[in-house]
Structures are given as C-alpha cells and as structure tokens.
Symmetry: C2
Subunit: 302 residues, 2 copies
C-alpha cells in the first residue's frame, strides 16, 4: 500500500492569526491528541518576534515540555532569521522549517526585504542550521502565485529549489502561501521541480482559500509528492479573508487518501477528536468536513 506523510500545522499556521491566545496546557492537550491519532510530523510553533505573533511566544517552552514524551513524532517549528535560529537551538529542537518568498512584493511586505536579499539570507541561515546539526526543511513561499503580484515565474521557483537543495537541507517545501494554486499548475510545477532536483524529497503546503486544496493535493501526489502540510479542522488562514482560508483540513486529507487506497497512518476518528477539542477551545465550528460527516454517520439525504 502506498503511503504519505501528513505534517499537521494546526498549532503553528493554524493558530498564528487566531485572536484567542491559547494556554500552554491547551496546546499540549491538542499536541497529545494529534500524536495519539497517529500524526507523525507536527509543526508546533515559530520562533518569530513575540510582538508580531503573540500566539507563538511560548514555542520554546511548548517544545521543551513535549519533545521527549512522543518518540517517533517529528517536532518542527518555523524559523525565519538568526535570532529565531538561536532560540530554536537553545530549546534543543532537532528539525526546523525555514523559508523565503518567490515574490518580491510579498517579501517586501512580509519581511521588509527584497526577495533576492531575503533568499540570500535564507541560504546562509540554512547552512548555519545544518552546520549546527539540525535537519532543515527549506521552503519557497508563494511558489504558486502571489496575492500582490499575481503569477510568479516558474523559472524563479526552480532556480530557488536547486539552490536550496545544495545547502544541505533535507527537504524542499513548495508553499501555496495565499491559496492561489490550481491542479494543472501544481502538476506542472511539481514535475519541473522534480526534474530539476531528482531524488530530493519534496513536500507541499496548500491553503484551501479557493476550495481547491484537496484537488491540488491529489495533483501533487500524482506527480510524486508524498509529504503534505495539513491543519486539523482546516484551522488557520488570513484574518482579512473571511471563511475558510487555512491549510487543507487534516481529516479531509486523511479521508481522500483512504478513499484512493493510500495509507496515512492516522486514525480518522481520533483525528476528529482533535477537531472537537479545537472547536471547544475556540468556540466555533471549523471548516473541515469529515468531523461533521462522521458525526452524522448513518443518516443522510438524497
């Protein structure tokens, strides 16, 4: 049976713009439920400035508390600069996610630096992290388009991919940061990227902003990608886009792969318990579908 790896990012990408600041106890309970459901990779926070993303201020403390209790689970966090790398090293984390944007406008808006400059800094940062013994996932933000400038040149993405693969990073992540990808584009860009860096592990980070998350996931899978970022309940997204603009819902991805005969190692019902817990903590229903489908099992309409 073919298998895929789902990396749950609900605790990072899912929560980062959430107004309600979760307590460490709440985050730990969510982490444990995710691990118990069989999720084997978890992006649990980011080492960014606490004033910019207050929800992530406790990332180091979070990690120190749980990192030894779930052997076999890969814990990772997002790092975007030197200061973040230092904090990550201090808390004993073994794996990091690091990225910069393929779009100049997005880079200027997000990190106040042109894309070329921020990419050069990323290459340095990854080399430092690798030299310190860390495993690194190197990411390309806005690989499928940018909300500010529209299309992003595929050649630029491929060039970044090739250079990132030479840094000593362990994996390349193509991110559809603002949920603009379509399935034909995903097939094309993944095929080009695989041709440019054959054998190098590629993962994909999708947002469901336009409802195409699962279609894009299937497109990437059929082009050979087998690591996917997801978020329990579909939690997350941009505070300016109302509705469901978070990552693909973890439980809906598990269902897709189950339906097409691909193992995820994740128990769908147990995963839905995490969604319940998020909904309880946040006091609202999340956009993922399978939790509702499971709850209504045996009842349906024509």
């Amino acid at each position: 049976m073919p298998t895929v790896i789902l990396e749950d990012e609900s605790l990072r990408d899912g929560l980062q713009f959430e107004q309600k600041i979760l307590t460490l106890e709440e985050k730990w309970s969510l982490y444990r439920l995710l691990a118990a459901a069989g999720v084997k990779r978890l992006q649990v926070g980011s080492f960014v400035h606490p004033k910019v993303v207050p929800q992530m201020a406790d990332t180091a403390e979070f990690i120190q508390h749980v990192r030894d209790e779930t052997p076999g689970v890969l814990i990772t966090a997002l790092v975007l600069n030197d200061k973040g790398l230092e904090r990550a090293l201090n808390c004993g984390l073994g794996h990091l996610s690091m990225s910069s944007s393929a779009s100049n406008s997005h880079s200027l808006k997000n990190v106040k630096r042109p894309a070329t400059e921020s990419f050069a800094a990323l290459l340095d940062l990854i080399r430092q992290a690798v030299a310190s013994g860390l495993e690194v996932r190197a990411g390309i933000q806005c690989a499928f388009g940018c909300a500010y400038e529209g299309a992003v040149a595929e050649d630029r993405v491929i060039e970044m991919a090739v250079r990132l693969a030479e840094t000593g990073a362990n994996e390349l992540n193509l991110a559809d940061t603002t949920g603009m990808a379509n399935p034909l584009q995903v097939r094309r860009l993944v095929a080009k990227t695989r041709a440019a860096i054959p054998q190098f592990p590629i993962s994909i980070h999708l947002h469901d902003t336009r409802g195409l998350g699962l279609a894009n996931m299937l497109a990437a899978y059929e082009e050979g990608v087998n690591i996917f970022d997801v978020s329990a309940g579909g939690l997350g997204g941009c505070p300016f886009v109302k509705g469901a603009s978070g990552n693909v819902a973890a439980e809906d991805a598990v269902n897709l792969f189950e339906q097409i005969g691909v193992a995820t190692g994740i128990d769908l019902k147990a995963l839905c318990k995490v969604v319940d817990r998020y909904e309880e903590i946040l006091g609202r229903r999340l956009p993922g579908r399978m939790n509702q489908v499971i709850k209504s099992q045996g009842i349906s309409c024509e």
Copy 2:
C-alpha cells in the same frame, strides 16, 4: 478555448431542505441575478408532493412567470413520477430532469420502492415525456455510492446508463447524491460510462460533503464530461449533516475552470452578487469560497 456548461441548481437542490420558505418574489430575483451572471441552465424546482417538499410547492407558478423573459436560458425541473410529469406538462416546461437510484436501500428509503421497480417506472416515465415532446435529462442517483449500503456496483450503473440512453432522453446525469465520490472513482466510472454510451452527452452532479467536489469535477472534466451541476454559494445539502454538504459552489467551479483556461460564460463577480442575495435572504454565510476571496481582494496574509 474549451467550454463547459454549469447548471445551477441552487433554486432546487439548494433550497429543498431549507427551513425558511422563500417567496416567489425572492426566487424570481435570484433567478434573474443568475441569468444576468451568464448562467445558461437553471434547475429551478421540482414537481414532487408539496407536503414532502413545501419549498418546491410553487414550482409551476415560478416557471410560468419567468420562462419567456430569458431566451437562451434552459429552465428545467425535477420530476419523479406520473403526477409530476402531468404538472410539468401543464406549466409548459420544455425540459425535465428525471432520475432513480442505483442503490436499493436508498430507493426504498426515498421512494418506498425497490430500485429495479423504480428504475422500470423511470424508463416508462421518460418515454412518456419524450413522446409528449419534452427534452429529458435522465439521472442515476447514488452512482458513486450510497450512505446506507456503501459501494454501488459499477456494472449496475453502466447497465442503467445504457438503458436510459435508449429511451430517447437527451443526456445522462451521474449523481453523487450523498457526496461519496472520490476522483479516481469518478475517472473510472466516467470512462466506463462513456465507453458504454459513446457520443451520448454525460453530465455530473456532485456534492461537496467531504470537500472533494472540485477535485471530482476536475476528474470528470478530464475524462470528457463538460456539463456540471452547481449551486450558487454551495447552498444545499442534507439537514442531518451539519456543515457544507450542498452541491459544488457555482462560483468556485467558475474559478476552477477560469484558472485552467476553460470558459464557462459566467461572470464571477456577477455570480457572487447572487451569493450575497442568498446570504441576505437566509441570514447566514454560505460555504462557497470565491465570494469571500473577491471581497478581500488586494488584502492577504502570508
């Protein structure tokens, strides 16, 4: 540029389980907005017993009022029995949708008759309608699975398709009535059906219950289907499944096809005005995504 036809069913499948009964004036205003947006096929109601689906009790009156004001727009309605056919003929409708279920349990539950019996009745009913000069779309409910009995034999679906194509009907509709299809299954069943009834027009009716609506739509398109049922806002679905279990949102389907270079003839922004109107009338946000994306244009997050 390749083209597809989207049949909006928000006024029928979308509204049929809605608690609030819309007035004729509200329905007419929605119809006009849909037609103004460029929707060329509209399923506007059903001739079923008014006590069973009170929302559809005014279907004849609805049709008589609008049928001459939008030339070029195909108006259709659902008919499931003799009585319904008589009412449809009386109101001067030229096109009908008629269907029965591939699942025995679903047929027993829905029309209190075994599937074989209800299929035989459907064949007769279509022949009567064709003899009366009507155009008919012949549908197979639960073609991709049944919430009561799970998998539905593909051979049964193909056999039904072949017999329906011999009745004089103009089109075959494969319906994923309870939103259980997956993209690989859609590719397989559509390919088999096309092989069994080559050249016969095939349309597909999808529900987004498990978030796979657009992925299934793309799968069907890539196997040669070019007529798709949609519902403005993703309105509709089963009252027992909370969340978004209606048809694929019309505006999200338009976006998918625009993104992959396929013309729908529908203006996305104008279509979103229909979604606004539905949300205003129903007092809640609908699950479709593109209306929110368009409203937040120019603003996005990383």
